[in-house]
């Protein structure tokens, strides 16, 4: 994003791909009232504008976003912790499955290799026998 434009708070079409690269901001928590929702919106906006580098410095805006996010309800925090825990659990399970699959694949490959090798030996023996017959 060009420095001149960001200082002026402007966005040009040249900036759009960079904004897209910056990533998407998650939808704000809906909370338990319109006021809580608006607090979450403010936090999301701070994050959004800091990604764009438009308001203040990115760091300052990100700090504001973090502060506002911290002000969200305990429930949101609990939900977040649970989501992180669930995500970790799901990731561990996925890793375990990947490792199991890898081990199974290696075993399959080994088995397949043995089969191929024995087939190769058999094919070699057969061609030798043919050669002998044609001799």
């Amino acid at each position: 994003m060009s420095k001149h434009n960001t200082e002026a708070g402007l966005i040009t079409s040249r900036d759009l791909p960079k904004l897209a690269e910056a990533g998407q901001v998650a939808a704000p928590e809906v909370g338990h009232s319109a006021q809580e929702l608006r607090q979450a919106v403010q936090a999301a906006l701070a994050e959004q504008w800091s990604l764009m580098g438009i308001l203040d410095t990115g760091k300052k805006a990100a700090d504001l976003g973090k502060k506002a996010a911290d002000a969200l309800t305990d429930k949101a925090k609990k939900d977040e912790d649970k989501a992180i825990h669930d995500e970790g659990k799901a990731r561990d399970e996925a890793h375990k499955k990947m490792n199991d699959d890898k081990a199974k694949n290696a075993e399959d490959r080994k088995k397949h290799g043995k089969e191929a090798a024995s087939l190769g030996v058999a094919a070699g023996a057969f061609s030798d026998a043919l050669r002998d017959l044609r001799a």
């Binding site: 966005i11 040249r14 998407q24 939808a27 338990h32 319109a34 906006l45 504008w49």
Partner: protein
């Protein structure tokens, strides 16, 4: 209270939200990704001669709700921003519900889905533009290329080629020979619009609530000033005042299309004119990205939009 729906990371949505936050306005925000998952709409309409035709219902969150009676106006950016999301049948159904809400809501809506339909067909818009008193470019729309050549050869200079629908395209000026060479023999070309290139200055007009008119000149050598970087030409936007008959024609056009917020693309004739028939209207944007124009010109479009959506409803 204004109901705003859209993805929070879409530029115009976040720009308008920032305006509402800065001005301490009462609003309710529904992120597009929550519609059909965490947010549901309750709609209750009892049509008939003896029943109240006023739509009743609520915007329902998991643990709280806001009655439609408390909503003064709606601004929607649903479907913009290219949000990646998993669209389940429930989400699709809730989107349809949102469209019904916006079409039936008794207060101002920017914009109702039925009013936005004209953007799907530019030739349809031309009828409304002409009826409002503005002019349109000489145009040929369609896929029968036997008609294209005589039309193109009858124009002054090379024709301008552009999308015939709401599909966004970079407007180009191409020679007929290059156009014909681009199409493969035996394969019919897709429908396009061919137009006479109009000389003059691009003027973008935003009409809010059918009353307030905000105009700015887009001075650029580029044929399509919306993409100055792609064409290598800079664009300078500056606020301007339209002659009152032209502003009135824009108000008529916006009202005729049923748009609470419109972005009208005009070409001002060289030397200027107060007669709307001398002004050529290229198209009406039914979901205008007004942020870019506001940021560059200081025109208070967001403020006017917020004010118009907060206006008290007639009971």
């Amino acid at each position: 209270m204004i109901l705003l729906m859209g993805p929070i990371d879409e530029l115009v949505t976040s720009f308008f939200l920032a305006h509402l936050t800065d001005t301490k306005s009462e609003y309710l925000f529904v992120d597009q990704r929550h519609l059909g998952t965490q947010v549901r709409l309750e709609l209750d309409l009892a049509p008939g001669p003896h029943a109240s035709r006023r739509l009743r219902g609520a915007v329902c969150f998991p643990t709280w709700r806001v009655d439609l009676e408390d909503i003064s106006g709606i601004f929607s950016r649903l479907g913009t921003g290219g949000v990646r999301e998993h669209v389940t049948p429930e989400v699709r159904a809730e989107r349809a519900h949102a469209n019904a809400l916006m079409d039936l809501f008794h207060g101002p809506v920017a914009n109702r889905p039925t009013a936005m339909v004209s953007n799907n067909s530019k030739p349809c818009q031309y009828a409304a533009i002409l009826a409002a008193g503005l002019s349109v470019p000489d145009t040929l729309a369609g896929g029968d290329w036997r008609l294209w050549e005589p039309f193109a050869r009858g124009l002054t200079g090379d024709p301008v080629i552009k999308s015939v629908s709401d599909e966004r395209s970079l407007v180009k000026q191409v020679s007929w020979d290059d156009t014909r060479a681009a199409f493969l023999p035996g394969r019919p070309p897709p429908p396009h619009q061919f137009q006479q290139r109009i000389s003059g200055t691009n003027v973008r007009v935003h009409v809010v609530g059918g009353r307030e008119v905000f105009a700015c000149r887009a001075e650029s050598q580029a044929l399509d000033y919306r993409h100055p970087d792609m064409t290598g030409h800079p664009v300078h936007l500056r606020a301007t005042t339209l002659p009152e008959p032209v502003a009135d024609a824009c108000r008529r056009l916006s009202c005729a299309l049923g748009l609470h917020l419109s972005g009208i693309d005009l070409i001002e004739p060289p030397g200027g004119s107060a007669d709307p028939r001398d002004w050529v209207c290229l198209e009406v944007n039914t979901c205008p990205g007004f942020m870019w124009f506001e940021q560059h010109t200081g025109l208070p479009i967001a403020q006017a939009l917020a004010r118009s959506l907060q206006a008290p409803l007639a009971s």
